[in-house]
């Protein structure tokens, strides 16, 4: 199985797919799957742009809406995780994972799926110690605070992933596991990214949560993005343990290393994305303690036994089949001929894929429950006009072709390690 891995998408689906097809032609190969490591920017219309945390100059309707609308179809199955530049309202609809567009599957805030017999896990967002132990209190429409915290990794999701016992083949995280630079040529890295040096030396570059998962899951492959550069490492777990091949990739720009093709031995195709039995069992077990306010989950409050959950899920999947519920549009797509027509709805709908999955698992729908962040005392505040006072301190500059600008802006970057 040949898998294309891409760093940060930033909405440039057209170019990435064209490049993949170019790779196929040049090398006479067929690529079976595209994995994207975040900042996908699944912006469907103007309304979604309100949930995308980017500086005003980068607030651009890229190409995802064409795939959402059906005008274009992803030429190969695509799986992505979220980063820190996302239409967070849409990803929240698909918290448990689902088709963001035909042939484009969002792995969820945390998730595991199967593609053929390859098991792929992922964690969306970036790590921030400040928000890590909070619940998912954010709801759209986001204010200037929640638009930046909604994509911060939560302990609840990491805890769920830490329950995975069956081997994961590939894992995706947007930011790098903390300490991963020890296992690669970090000296080379800091020549190009001078501003990383202090954080590397102090071992603060990267995500603590991702590092915990790396230690626990020990997948053969781990892919990341976020820092807009290519970096490879090989981790050996223990003196005689297994190894993890880590690769971080850049964003899609000319002459940048944003794409990598890997070849993994697998069963013969055709392949398709399927629900993962163990992950659905974990979802069923932990959904009752889903933290929907500022308060963290009560991890001791789960009453179901994992073994029972897995057996229960197995019977459901055997009856229904493992294929995810089908894509469904929930809001109108951007229409370039009528750019003003996209504000003709107000509410944030439930996604039928999510509802169907929860129905399958006999779980209640909780994603639109009222959160503390919506009560008047903590209610949404209007976004600052023009965004000039909005801090983008977690930003890896999207347009960093101008390295000088990057270095200037990077001073304010918190790469998820507060």
């Amino acid at each position: 199985m040949k898998i294309a891995v891409e760093g940060c998408m930033h909405g440039d689906l057209d170019i990435v797919y064209q490049t993949i097809q170019h790779v196929e032609r040049l090398n006479g190969i067929k690529i079976d799957l595209l994995l994207c490591c975040g900042d996908f920017q699944a912006v469907r219309n103007a309304r979604d742009m309100e949930s995308l945390n980017v500086p005003p100059k980068y607030r651009e309707m890229k190409s995802f809406w064409k795939y959402y609308s059906g005008q274009e179809v992803a030429p190969i199955p695509t799986i992505f995780i979220g980063g820190n530049h996302e239409a967070s309202n849409y990803l929240w609809e698909l918290y448990y994972g689902g088709w963001a567009a035909p042939n484009i599957y969002f792995l969820g805030f945390a998730g595991v799926v199967k593609f053929g017999n390859i098991r792929i896990g992922g964690l969306s967002g970036i790590y921030s110690a400040r928000d890590y132990h909070l619940g998912h209190h954010e709801r759209p429409p986001y204010n200037e605070r929640t638009i930046r915290s909604v994509y911060h990794v939560r302990e609840y999701d990491v805890h769920k992933l830490m329950q995975v016992e069956e081997p994961i083949d590939i894992f995706l995280s947007h930011d790098w596991p903390l300490g991963i630079t020890d296992c690669g040529n970090w000296q080379q890295l800091v020549r190009h990214k001078r501003h990383f040096e202090n954080e590397i030396r102090e071992r603060t570059l990267g995500s603590k949560a991702a590092a915990q998962l790396l230690e626990k899951l020990r997948p053969p492959y781990w892919f990341s993005a976020h820092l807009h550069c290519k970096f490879a490492a090989v981790v050996q777990h223990g003196e005689s343990g297994p190894t993890t091949k880590f690769l971080a990739l850049d964003k899609c720009l000319p002459r940048r290393k944003f794409l990598q093709i890997i070849d993994i031995e697998s069963e013969p195709g055709p392949y398709e994305i399927q629900y993962d039995e163990e992950w659905l069992a974990i979802t069923r077990k932990f959904n009752p303690i889903f933290p929907l306010t500022f308060k963290n989950a009560n991890f001791g409050g789960t009453q179901l036994e994992m073994q029972d959950c897995q057996q229960w899920v197995r019977s459901r999947l055997q009856a229904r089949g493992p294929k995810p519920f089908e894509f469904a549009q929930t809001v109108p797509s951007f229409d370039p001929s009528q750019p003003d027509s996209n504000n003709s709805y107000f509410d944030y709908p439930r996604n039928p894929q999510t509802e169907s999955l929860l129905q399958l698992l006999e779980l209640p729908y909780l994603l639109d429950s009222v959160s503390e962040s919506r009560v008047p005392t903590h209610g949404p505040t209007p976004l600052i006009q023009g965004g000039s006072s909005v801090e983008y301190s977690e930003e890896i500059p999207i347009d960093d072709a101008d390295e000088v600008e990057e270095f200037a802006e990077i001073d304010d970057v918190e790469t998820g390690n507060e």
């Binding site: 170019h22 103007a46 016992e165 053969p220 290519k230 091949k245 229904r320 006999e362």
Partner: protein, 337 residues
């Protein structure tokens, strides 16, 4: 008091000395010219850009006194790097994409059952993973499993009843064509997308949904539709409400270049081919440096004070560095008052 002409000459001489010092340093490792190229990270094609960046002569001595020390440290670090054996330059850049095998055959996750990719690493004789699921029922009919009575959790039936009242009809109408071998995707209900249980749009025209590559949609497949692809639009219909407009351009400038400028042959080469596994140090040492809620988050906790750092690294720190660090520490302390 020297005049400006003399000072210029003196500085020029210092530049020359500095350049010679750099050249001398580079001579010790002619392959890298003061810069260790890493074939693991960058393809040869990318090297010219790197060369360009480091071709800029660095003259640190009077612009920033500390830079002189940092330059020395960098040279030292480069030496250390070579000693650590991270980099093994290779000229083999033309190899076709190969199947990536583990640099450590025989390793395995001792407490896990093998899965396909693990097996690749292990290069063992485990049988293929058999965890494939068999479909025994209809994919799109969740109704058989909708049994609130048996659910251990409170169900929000009032919220979903409308939607699930006829679940078998839920996914049957689609504005999409069936796209060949890909999974068939269907949108929910008429007129083409799903509004959730809260009903259709409350005002405005019917939304326009692309109806694939035929039909009467304003889109016509890959022809970019009816808009001016090259014109950059500033859409501000809702910016009055939010003050957050956005840009739209039908075709991104980069896209017009075609895929060639985006392609790099390293994309099909093994990025790990020259890397040796490094034993994972674990989180314990790193976690101590992290700020966690509830703990002190002061700068002084995250970064050791001068006295501490000087004790730890007195053998490596010069007097100038120590004085500079002391000065910075004093400034920070003053600012935090």
């Amino acid at each position: 008091m020297e005049d400006s002409e003399r000072r210029r000459e003196r500085l020029k001489a210092m530049r020359t000395i500095a350049a010679q010092a750099e050249a001398s340093s580079n001579f010790e490792n002619p392959a890298v010219s003061g810069f260790l190229a890493n074939p693991l990270l960058e393809s040869p094609a990318a090297l010219p850009a790197q060369e360009e960046s480091r071709a800029i002569p660095r003259f640190d001595f009077y612009t920033d006194p500390m830079a002189a020390f940092s330059a020395n440290k960098k040279r030292s670090a480069a030496g250390n790097q070579a000693q650590q054996g991270y980099v093994t330059p290779t000229s083999d850049s033309g190899s076709p994409m190969a199947r990536f095998s583990s640099p450590r055959p025989g390793l395995r996750n001792t407490d896990m059952t093998p899965s396909p990719a693990h097996q690749i690493q292990m290069q063992s004789s485990y049988s293929p993973n058999q965890r494939m699921y068999q479909a025994h029922g209809p994919y799109d009919s969740p109704a058989p499993f909708w049994s609130p009575r048996t659910s251990p959790f409170p169900m929000h039936q009032e919220n979903v009843a409308g939607y699930y009242s006829n679940p078998s009809d839920t996914y049957t109408r689609s504005p999409y064509p069936n796209h060949g071998g890909n999974p068939s995707f269907q949108a929910v209900g008429s007129p083409g997308f799903y509004y959730g249980q809260r009903g259709p749009p409350r005002h405005g025209n019917s939304p326009i949904i692309g109806s694939g590559r035929g039909g009467g949609s304003p889109y016509s497949g890959r022809t970019q539709g009816q808009w001016d692809g090259g014109r950059r639009n500033q859409v501000s219909s809702w910016s009055g409400r939010r003050g957050r407009g956005f840009h739209f351009r039908g075709t991104a400038p980069d896209e017009k270049l075609g895929p060639e400028p985006f392609y790099d042959k390293s994309m099909v080469e093994d990025p790990w081919q020259n890397l040796e596994p490094v034993v994972w140090r674990g989180l314990d040492s790193a976690v101590n440096n992290l700020h966690t809620p509830g703990s002190s988050n002061s700068v002084t906790m995250k970064k050791p004070r001068v006295s501490e750092s000087s004790n730890k690294s007195s053998s490596q720190q010069s007097l100038a560095e120590y004085l500079a660090a002391s000065f910075n520490e004093a400034v920070k302390d003053a600012a935090s008052v």
